[in-house]
Symmetry: none
């Protein structure tokens, strides 16, 4: 189904969906067909579809909401001026926040560990 243009399947699907979005066939706010649906539709495996959606997601064209679906982003909020300066600026903020998160996480982990060992220890720790 995905032809053999030399392009990988997940990119072909991503392109197709992107075209549908840009072309208005998939209006902003509307949900894409579900992952399994798309898989059947394109004759591809789930993994490939997830990969394709992932691409669109990192492109910002689409937003996935767990349990609900993947929705086309409003045109207003996506293609707008992606000023390099803006990105840099906000990126800094991100870095800062990330540092905070890391710090908090570390403290949390430590403290939670103490708490865990001091309370009833139950098997079934979920880790891998």
């Amino acid at each position: 189904m995905v032809k053999n243009t030399g392009q990988p399947a997940y990119l072909q699907i991503a392109d197709d969906l992107r075209a549908q979005i840009r072309g208005g066939s998939l209006a902003p706010g509307t949900p894409l067909p579900s992952t399994t649906r798309l898989a059947e539709q394109y004759g591809a495996s789930l993994s490939v579809v997830k990969l394709a959606v992932g691409v669109l997601r990192t492109e910002g064209l689409v937003i996935g909401q767990q349990g609900k679906g993947v929705f086309v982003r409003d045109a207003d909020e996506l293609p707008p001026p992606a000023k390099a300066g803006d990105v840099a600026e906000v990126s800094e903020e991100v870095a800062e926040l990330r540092a905070t998160v890391q710090d908090l996480s570390k403290r949390l982990a430590k403290v939670e560990e103490q708490l865990a060992t001091s309370t009833t220890r139950r098997p079934g720790r979920s880790s891998r």
Copy 2:
């Protein structure tokens, strides 16, 4: 190891690499460590690393050359493909991170309190 920030591993790795690129620690033209290398380095599986590299690839920050490696793109040649949705994307990330910080803070506070008064054994392990 990765994790604990609430952010998925592949995004953390992507972020880390992105930071190294932006920070100059990985200069344009230099190759990233090999996939397997990164996997060991981050204590993650190959799949996760490939996912992370994939993100950077679709962002245009990096170019993979089969058989050779993944190379940091020259700063000159990447601004043009100015990525639509970048600002939106990062903004969203900020929002997410803020939420994470709030969540972590809350959990930290709670847990630290419990630890302080942990003469009483209390179950109630709340994983996720």
